[in-house]
Amino acid sequence: MTELNHLTAHELLDKLSKKEATAQAIQGALYTRIQKIDKKVKAYLRMDKLISSESIKTKAEEPGRNGFNLYGLPISIKDNICTQGFVTECCSKILQGFNPPYDATVINKLKEASAEIFPLKTNMDEFAFGSSTENSYFGATHNPWNLDCVPGGSSGGSAAAVASDEAIWALGSDTGGSIRQPASFCGVVGLKPTYGRVSRFGLIAFASSLDQIGPITKDVRDAAILSQIISGFDPKDSTSINQPVPEYTKSLGLDIKGLKFGIPKEYFVEGMDAEVKIIIQEAIAKLNTLGAFSHQVSLPHTEYAVPVYYIIATAEASSNLARFDGVQYGYRAKSDNLIQMYKKTRGEGFGDEAKRRIILGTFALSHGYYDAYYLRALKARTLIKQDFDKIFKDFDCIITPTCPTAAFKIGEKTKDPLKMYLSDIYTISVNLAGIPAISIPCGFTKGGLPVGLQIMAKAFNEEVLFRVAHAYEQNTQWHKLKPKL
């Protein structure tokens, strides 16, 4: 019999409702799995908080208050989402011991649905700065498909935990691909919702105009369920949008006959791994056999996406991270002089990548450079968004690879930040344009590493993403394959 932790959330909900499983049994299976294999994967943080499976006490059964009932289902949370009662450190020394006196809005919504917030948080690049989960103060997470490889990042812990059945499902955050890229590297499903769809309240900000929280799951149905629970207007977030959330699961099972897909030529150029290219082309062919039409399109400003992103994201980050100064919370270096205390605290508290990005962002905003960098980047962002607007007038979705390559080796890109930045080349534009995109498993390299297919849609059209992703998934087996650990 399959262990409970191997199942998807919707399979477990089914079992729970039929009384074929208990909340305790599900958690027990997870704890056993984590104890057995997290030494190798290192998806979770603060393992000392893991209590033995015998002492697990689940709360009394209670249906959700917001129309969802996730009773008995634990969910794993990335370390940059504030959880009251659990330390939230963004995998940074500078937030050492931070115990938020509030829950993120997504956590509130999950609690209202009676979900169990898993007590261990998942690993990530410090402040979500990275594409490999190597920039964590707690050390790197390993890819369950090949422990020598990175799981992607920055939500590498969440993706690896879901892929290795150490989690039922998880939340990540995506600023430039931080959900989709690790989902792709780990062979799981990851969605970046439309900007404004999910409240950012309680998500420790990296780049406020780009960040979104989203699900990382074992299949598309789970992604649809979880998205629906966490989405919706939040009066505590001025950038959340007051629009009703459709019932996403209604999009599952619909055919995709007659849908029109744009294949941007700018995404199939040099730098792309030849094996990945073939796998993606096969996936597109598969979609066509299901009745969709695909045409080559052009997103002419794609080449500017990475530079624009690294200006806007770092500029916002430089200001968002100014608050980490050793006064109200977190780490403080010893000094009897305020300005030295600031400098030492931040010099010692931030890791290399954080310092690099804060300084780059400070530079982009500084006097004499603002117009050449920040302002110009805002303008280019408009152009990138317009590229998408134009395509979505005629096409339902845009289909691309999620990443130019499969997972790379741990340490392979740490010496060369620019090379690392370029691994986000296919995911970044989506954040700049504010549109939703999903990554689903679509094949494996000869080396046995998963490859992800990215589907993008216009703003607030997550439904079509679930519809297409589900149709593809139901006609393939990729999502059912499990890493051998």
Binding site: L338, L432, A459
Partner: protein, 95 residues
């Protein structure tokens, strides 16, 4: 536009980040590399384009002037690295 060590040092000061000499050395080279790449943007003819400070389709988000319950001072200060009574405390301000 290249970035030199002096600029990096100045910007690090603005960002209140202490850099060890070896870090400054390495960072200057890396940033020069990154900015060289970012300079691709200067090819873009951006004169006529409106800058998108928000891509958001919403504006005029306001809340009612109704008070909520504040944190207790104990809770507010719970995470503080240093406090005195009900105050946060910081080292002397020497400028």
């Amino acid at each position: 536009m290249a970035i030199d060590k002096k600029t990096v040092e100045y910007v690090a000061h603005l960002a209140r980040i202490e850099l060890q000499p070896i870090e400054l050395e390495r960072l200057s080279l890396q940033l020069d590399d990154i900015i060289g790449f970012i300079d691709k943007l200067s090819c873009l003819d951006a004169e006529q384009i409106k800058s998108a400070s928000h891509i958001l389709p919403v504006c005029n988000v306001l809340r009612d002037d109704e008070p909520h319950i504040c944190l207790t001072p104990e809770k507010a200060l719970e995470n503080a690295p240093s406090k005195k009574g009900n105050f946060f405390s910081v080292p002397k301000i020497i400028e």
